[in-house]
Symmetry: C2
């Protein structure tokens, strides 16, 4: 399945720092970097104000770069519960922005991303940054970590997309096959 | 402090069922019911679609009823983590809708609401529904539970609002007093 040209936006969600990236699938496993950045919101601002800033930023990115799909980190259900809660609020706002533009959203756990990029589900930040820099042919490592993570998510989806598309095709064919079988048994 | 006429929207957040209510503060502790309802989203729909439906509904309510303030339940950080996560996504979308209209949002824990309405932080659903029906002078008990909870949140804020306004006034006066003291010591 050829997905050359597929534009993927990667999001490493967070309320204080939210990593955003856009990449484009090239030939084979090649991935071309398009944009990378981090949205920051001041921790002393009101929650509504912070969510508005994140929403505005992601809407601007979606409208400027027009990705075909968004890949976002699936939230850890462990760790500091209060931080996770705030990140979950941000994720709601981010998914809403994509849904309002009919852009599908895929979720990947950190270990799925690590495995896809480095072959090791437990790769550390340094290994991940090195791999992402190499894969995208960047002249220097993307900074901060949230930016590198957003790129890793986008690349992960580029590489998973052909398999996902095949699965979808197989599921559609299976449904069609079943439908015909049922029709034949009725005749 | 007289807050007669204050319009409060109460929200009992949820992805499957989200309770919405609007009440208006009357004289003294009187509260007048304005509207109550529940937004439902199908559990088999995509997350982005569900968040869009919730966002659309709350935006319509905010534009129709023009509340001065929103009171929303502070999320329990316990219980079924996955459900809490989905509710947190919905809360993000709800707060964003209010923030985009410059409407302040106040958070109350379930026990704060129970205490304010029934005098008992551990009141059960039946006691709460009975109290809310009586306070608002309704001819029958609001249904489902999410609708009653949304009304309870709004009434809770109506009753807390005068104290909150006084606290704000005291804080502003204290700041002003300190500023003058500092000015005088500089002279």
């Amino acid at each position: 399945m050829n997905l050359e040209g597929l534009r993927v936006m990667g999001i490493d969600p967070g309320l204080t720092r939210c990593g955003l990236s856009v990449v484009q699938a090239g030939r084979g496993r090649a991935v071309i970097p398009v944009a990378v950045g981090v949205v920051r919101t001041p921790s002393d601002a009101e929650l509504g104000n912070r969510l508005t800033r994140i929403s505005d930023a992601v809407e601007e990115w979606l409208d400027d770069y027009r990705p075909d799909v968004v890949a976002i980190e699936r939230l850890f259900e462990r760790g500091n519960v209060s931080t996770v809660m705030y990140t979950a609020h941000a994720v709601g706002v981010l998914i809403l922005a994509a849904a309002r533009r009919d852009i599908p959203v895929h979720h990947y756990t950190p270990s799925e991303v690590k495995k896809a990029i480095s072959g090791n589900g437990r790769a550390d930040k340094q290994q991940m940054t090195t791999m992402i820099t190499r894969i995208l042919g960047l002249s220097e490592a993307p900074k901060p970590a949230d930016a590198a993570d957003a790129l890793a998510l986008a690349v992960c989806h580029c590489w998973r997309a052909p398999a996902l598309a095949r699965e979808k095709q197989v599921a559609a064919r299976t449904r069609e096959f079943k439908r015909r079988l049922e029709q034949r048994s009725k005749q």
